[in-house]
Amino acid sequence: MAEQNGDSILLEMRGITKRFPGVLALDRINLQVRPGEVHGIVGENGAGKSTLIKILSGVYQADEGEVIFKGQRVVHNNPRQAQIAGITTIYQELNQIPHLTVMENIYLGSEIMRGPFVDWPEMRRRSQTLLQKLRLEIDPAMTLGKLGVGQAQMVEVAKALHHKADLIIMDEPTAALSLTEIAYLFQIINELRDSGVAVIYISHHLEETFEICDRITILRDGQYIDTRPRDEMTMDDLIRMMVGRTLDEQFPKENVEQGNELLRVEGLNQGSRLKDVSFSVRAGEILGVAGLVGAGRTELLRAIFGADPIDSGKFFVNGQAVTIHHPRDAIRNGVALLTEDRKQQGLLLHLSTRQNISITVLDTLVRARMLIDRRRETELASKYVDSMAIKITSLEQLVRNLSGGNQQKVVLSKWIATQPRVLLFDEPTRGIDVGAKVEIYRLMNSFVAQGGAVVMVSSELPEILAMSDRIMVVHEGRVSGFLDRAEATQERIMELATGYSNQGSANAAQE
């Protein structure tokens, strides 16, 4: 069907360049999208995908370059202008109002009016038609919040159809969807393609991208690499173009001799979130924790750290039983938590780099028993800024203004400053560009090489597989098995993570 539109071009972006202070986010990017085409954009985190679609949808304006849409040169100063022009974006975090009904959400900002009043019956009728077109069995008068994430996303598609979009941008649409929901979404995308609507599809799941897209544009570090029809390349080609480096360069795993057991958790229970979790980790070891979203991985780390109350469970540090009721107790026992949500929970965004690094160890930086020794504080901060190669303009720069990788290094600094033995590391490289990822891995390596232990939660299976010495898989709050580095594969992990595995063999894998 796509062929029938021939070589006509719906959207063309030429030489798009976007700078943020200190960073060239996009460097002369080109993109061509045809009507009725599903066009994938792939790239590592930090490659510039988000910035590019934000320019397309009017959130940002390009510093250089031009956008030609339906043959016209356009500049969209805000998302509303883009929407009116026919470009709708479905964001990863949906811009929906959960306490309003489905139809109110579809017609938000473009309510059907009769005189001064909202014409509810008409809105209901039209919503029904739209939803039927997508073969959705949803009552338009239902509160949106009651729908699952997948259906809520479909409502967003319905909204796009209502706005008669020629181009729908989907940013990580499958991040929160189940397999059946993904299959259904693809069906809808295929129908959109057949009706001549173009879709820009952004996902870090390469298999999905390969399955649904007609052509794929590859970005790397803000640069345009290539655009190719799906049929003319292999997955390996794609990865090579995306990453620009080999697997070993990506994950610089070093093998460290393992020592004594540093942390042991026994019979940890927390409501329905954690059930009888037991494990241990040794000096020099990186224990990967894998599992599906909602399996209790983050909850586990938070519970060990004393961030949330637990129902029962014992913690042993260096073989000694310890009680942990508050993060302070964990820190005192040499345990540190680097949270998944770096901005809200890891960093004090409104404070400076210096203040963020010293916050955990201020009590060691006082003179005359009460005053903060500013000189020693600065020394401490500079020490970590140097040793971790944190790129800042000055120690007083607010961490709010640092890049993701540098922010993560600041978080790591403030915890290394407490001289911990065990790092609980939740999604260590989320939102960090490729180069910084490697640096974070190296820092992890050197931490375990000096006799520390790392418990690393990650949703990136390649990361888990490459960096862990041992992998613990959790499923619905329980440990469903342990895998040694040698025996671990994506398939084995997914089996355990989805609960299909034979319990007996899983337990056998435990040391």
């Binding site: 929970q345 409104h350 955990t360």
Partner: protein, 355 residues
């Protein structure tokens, strides 16, 4: 993806306009004060005397102390609406203890020396503040509601104890000392209440800028509460202590007002909550907390006071004053929003206009 939004810098722009904006944002309140001060010097001959300047300091002292406590509370993203009631309550308590009687119940005790009465009133302020802090942290109650409730309770107690009348006292001992003046050269002198306020500000500055407690207060504000807790900070303890500080300082201000008026009355703290919050915001501490400081608050107090006094010097009709005070408060909040850089169309030089 987050990396890209992470580098979307704000306030660190290196261009000239950005620098100018930062300087204005930093010095802004002081420049406003300076402007108003010079304006009043030009417009009103009566303002050009040592006594007039003394009056400005004197009238600013008590509210400045209240606003100092409010700065601590707002720094951690909270708010204390009970301060004006605390000013009244501590004044009434001290006055009843000094006079040995109240209007409502007649003789309650033999009057005790002023110094003890003052200590009791001030301690009560500290304890009630701490108690509010406990309700807010340990029971996760909304500070707005808790402090509004205590505002009513404290005003109610002040009313019940006095039947609405002021309790007259004779100035002696400490109440006399804290209302005295320290003579400088010639006609110049420093009102003691302002010296007390200055001392409190200096101590508060040291606490906020140079002590762990203060650093933690900055950390907790600006939506940093969870991150602070996860950094091992005992957030609850800091918050409870901060409400205690606010109660303590409001009670100290209450004793000053009472000594100056020679009367403990439930009206003594009228309007102080609103003015203190406005002063904090004008002085550069945003309502979300996490930045700013006490000296800005003092400038904020001076701005409000000089406007109020200026209207009397210039004989502005009484009813217009409410309007002016209201405009100042709204402008203060607007200033806050602009400083936060939340208004896109006001982000000078940040946006490229494309043609």
């Amino acid at each position: 993806m987050a990396a890209e939004s992470g580098v979307e810098s704000r306030g660190q722009s290196t261009n000239l306009l950005g620098t100018l904006r930062r300087v204005i944002a930093g010095l802004g309140p002081f420049l406003v004060f300076l402007f108003l001060f010079v304006l009043l010097l030009i417009l009103s001959p009566a303002f050009r005397s040592p006594t007039s300047l003394g009056l400005l300091l004197l009238e600013s002292a008590a509210i400045a102390i209240v606003a100092c406590g409010q700065t601590f509370v707002i720094m951690i993203g909270g708010i204390d609406l009970s301060v004006e009631a605390m000013v009244s309550f501590s004044g009434v308590t001290a006055a009843i203890l000094i006079a040995g009687s109240n209007i409502a119940g007649g003789q309650v005790a033999n009057g005790i020396p002023a110094i003890y009465a003052v200590l009791i009133a001030v301690s009560a302020g500290l304890l009630i503040g701490l108690f509010q802090g406990m309700l807010i942290t340990l029971f996760r109650m909304n500070p707005l509601i808790v402090t509004l409730g205590f505002r009513s309770i404290l005003l109610g107690i002040s009313l019940v104890w006095t039947n609405g009348a002021g309790i007259n006292i004779v100035r002696e001992g400490i109440t006399d000392t804290i209302t005295s003046r320290i003579p400088l050269v010639g006609d110049w002198n420093l009102p003691m209440p302002f010296v007390i306020a200055l001392t409190i500000y200096a101590i508060s500055w040291v606490i906020l800028r140079h002590m762990r407690f203060g650093r933690y207060a900055y950390a907790i504000g600006g939506n940093g509460e969870e991150a602070s807790r996860l950094s091992g900070i005992n957030v609850n303890r800091i918050k409870i202590m901060i409400y205690g500080i606010s109660g303590l300082l409001a009670a100290i201000a209450g004793v000053l007002v009472m000594s100056r008026l020679r009367s403990g009355a439930y009206q003594n703290g009228t309007n102080m909550t609103l003015i203190s919050v406005a002063a904090v915001v004008i002085g550069g501490t945003p309502l979300t907390g996490g930045k700013g400081g006490v000296w800005g608050t003092m400038i904020g107090v001076f701005i409000i006071r000089i406007v109020e006094q200026g209207m009397v010097y210039l004989s502005v009709p009484s009813n217009a004053k409410e309007i002016v005070v209201g405009v100042i408060i709204v402008l203060a909040v607007l200033l806050d929003v602009i400083r936060q850089g939340e208004i896109t169309w006001l982000r000078l030089g940040k946006r490229r206009v494309e043609t």
